[in-house]
Amino acid sequence: MALIYIQNLNFTYPNNKQRALKNVNFFVEEGEFVVLCGPSGCGKTTLMSQLKREIRPEGDISGNIYYRGEPINHMPKKQAVEEIGMVFQDPENQIVLDTVLHELAFSMENMGYDIKIMKKRIAEMSNFFGLEKMLHKPVNELSGGEKQILNLASVLLLQPKVLLLDEPTSQLDPIGAKRFLQMVHRLNRELSMTIIMSEHRLEDVFPLADKVIFMQKGEVKHMGNPRSISYKILMSGDAAQHNYLPSVVRMYSYLKKDIEQAEIPIDVREAKTVICNLIDKDEKQYSENSDICSKFSEKPVISLKDVCFRYDKNSPNILDKLSLDIYPGEFLTILGGNGAGKSTLLQIIAGLKKPQRGKVYFKGREMSRIKEGERYSKIGYLAQNPMLYFIYETVEDELYKRAEMLKTRVDDVEKLLMEYMDLFNLEPLLKRHPYDLSGGEKQRLAMATVLLSKPEVLLLDEPTKGLDPTFKINFQNMLDKLIKTGMTIIMVSHDIEFTAGNTYSCALLFNGEITSKDTSSNFFSENYFYTTSVNRTVREKLPKAIILEDVKKVCRKERHMPVKTASY
């Protein structure tokens, strides 16, 4: 008997014509690791919340959900809470109480457990997760990754049989995300816990999954183990779906004439043996010119000289004698570990923070001498969280009132507004409340309002965080268009795959300084860990290939596949 059996499930939100879930059918065996994937808004979260009775949204529902053969609604309340645990996307807002210890105890207190049981379980769990040292810490001193681990631990203290994870790693940096997934993997393998996890990036979870379910517009499109679902998606010929597959699978499908399901690689290790046999060329030097300055003969638009910065007198320098030149038209990504000071650096470039030592120049003028109004309109800054920008109650106000304010400074602001509304596809959203938009829509709106001041330099802080591949492709096109207008873009990111494919140059921020700045292909091909899975797979044969397109350039594809282009 399957642990969970979903039969003909349909669900419609109130005041909504379209069904959020359409005829969903599947089952989950005990101990299975199930991954739900698909574009945002495809119904992943809705489906999961149907399994978690306490947070099930209101709406019309038909069909059945069985848990251990019984309708899930017949389960006693207490059992439902205990046996089905859930961790949400945002690590910060899930936390209820002030210290780690209180937070861990929270779920057990709700169940009315005796203090002896609570103590024992917390002791055990702290051991498993290595939380002993932080038990008495206030939760706001934890990093995002630690917060998410805490959320997981707090749920696990009820000893659930099923764990629902709703894009749990989308807000984490790569190291935090890997650590979280390792934990989940251990729970699955060592305790045979059933895992249902939604995720848009399959790169890391593919090797762990027993079953992958691909959803689109509320429907289950494909289902199967990683190999079979890869095969089904590859054969479906829908390019939009392809983007959800890990790059090793896409690379395999590109290079292999007749795709064999059993041979599809699901991680780098497997890909290495399969794919290297498919590449008959040994192209060591198809690289372009690696000297970054040769492309940009002009003077730098932004120039940092020996910049030092710390938050207060007694804290260590976050940036330490950092020097960096950025040229007009350059698209630079700054990479670096968690807390390396990337965001701080961006804020210094934006003129929002003043370094204690060193100088920042914008087109040869010292930053602090430029009037604030001019500084902020010439250098656009888009912070990590678009929510920080929204003041008004409709998208329309947000755009038009901003344009109104800029009228005196930017001559053709109205024309610009129309252009950006078009570019970012904001027309259909005008009457909505900014807070009701999806993550990607918020990002586009915030970006449009920043661009209205006609900046020459655009600074982006983690613009792709938590967003799905479809958005990333669109976003990439938008950035391309901006670059073509001559804009300089500086981006801070953890998203290696996105960075590798898009930016012109990359720099690594480490120990308070820029340790290397180079073109993307040189930058990544020289790295060992900090590089794309494509590069890790083919580096012996094609050391300079970092994204699928690079491989494609070298290896002409012989087999033609029916591929539609991605639609908006």
Binding site: M111, G112, D114, I115, N140, Q347, E372, F390, R402
Partner: protein, 290 residues
């Protein structure tokens, strides 16, 4: 900090501070007040080298002196008239009463400095958690939100600066308006995000059982009981003495001379025992680590 007096169970500590505040408010005996003040200052010094006390002591002394100076001029009770000021009598009693009030006030204020080191928010919550579980729960949640909101507010202010919304420049009205803009974002955003918090609470079973249990890891040990017994015994005695007017120091209408009989002696001994409890505990701990 979890040493000395603070390492005890919060209940005896809390009882001690509450009883101390009450006692210094009702007993005017100068020796008692002097002893209480000196011991509270020493306690602060033993606890953190007087660091926290230094931050506010100047203001406290100012307040104390203010009382000593003002009282004789607003209070004209008492029979020993020293001189006349603007046709109003200034009495010895009023001056002495002012000094007693100063000592009492300083003791209360200084004891709160050490109170805040000993009764941490967590312990405070624990003390009331069995009496007012829901209220304490709301407080703990609010305490979790406070640092989050502070950081958010700073982030918003930074980003809004790029839009000319700045509280540091411009006319006063404009600065207030800008502050309100930041507030609008902070409130809208935080209330919106808090929905996720409530979902997470539901998912973890909040409201499932009628009675939540509570996890606070404070246990009364034998020594806690012993200290509690000493506190109850000594402060109980002092309240009894006060009720019986033993050790009563009469100020109004005419200040009485300090006398020492057996009962007053007993009162002073009991005062010494009571007031030295935290000092002895701190000192014993210090000696152990010498």
């Amino acid at each position: 900090m979890n040493r000395g007096f603070a390492s005890l169970h919060p209940a005896p500590c809390f009882l001690y501070y509450v009883s101390l505040v009450l006692l210094v408010m009702v007993i005017y005996h100068p020796l008692f007040l002097l002893l209480a003040l000196c011991f509270q200052i020493s306690l602060n010094i033993m606890q953190d080298g007087g660091k926290r006390l230094k931050e506010s002591i100047k203001f406290y002394i100012f307040l104390g002196l203010l009382i000593v100076l003002i009282n004789p001029f607003i209070s004209h009770r008492g029979q020993t008239i020293l001189f006349y000021f603007l046709d109003n009598p200034v009495t010895l009693e009023a001056i002495i009463y002012g000094i007693a009030m100063m000592m009492s006030l300083l003791t209360i204020l200084i004891s709160f400095v050490s109170y805040n080191m000993v009764i941490t928010p967590d312990k405070f919550m624990f003390l009331f958690s069995s009496l007012l579980p829901k209220t304490v729960f709301v407080c703990m949640m609010a305490m979790r939100f406070v640092p989050v909101l502070k950081r958010r507010s700073q982030d918003i202010a930074l980003v809004q600066k790029t839009r000319g919304t700045d509280t540091t420049t411009g006319s006063f009205t404009q600065r207030i308006k800008n502050g309100i803009q930041i507030m609008i974002i902070l409130i809208t955003w935080s209330l919106e995000e808090a929905i996720i918090t409530s979902r997470s609470m539901r998912a973890r079973g909040y409201g499932i059982t009628k009675y939540r249990s509570s996890y606070f890891d404070y246990k009364m040990t034998k020594s806690d009981w012993a200290v509690l017994a000493v506190i109850i015994f000594s402060c109980g005695n002092l309240f009894y003495f006060w009720y019986q007017s033993i050790g009563h120091f009469q100020i109004y209408p005419k200040v009485s001379a300090l006398t020492l009989d057996i009962r007053t002696g007993l009162f002073l001994v009991m005062s010494f025992i009571y007031l030295s409890i935290p000092i002895v505990i701190e000192g014993a701990e210090k000696l152990r680590w010498l």
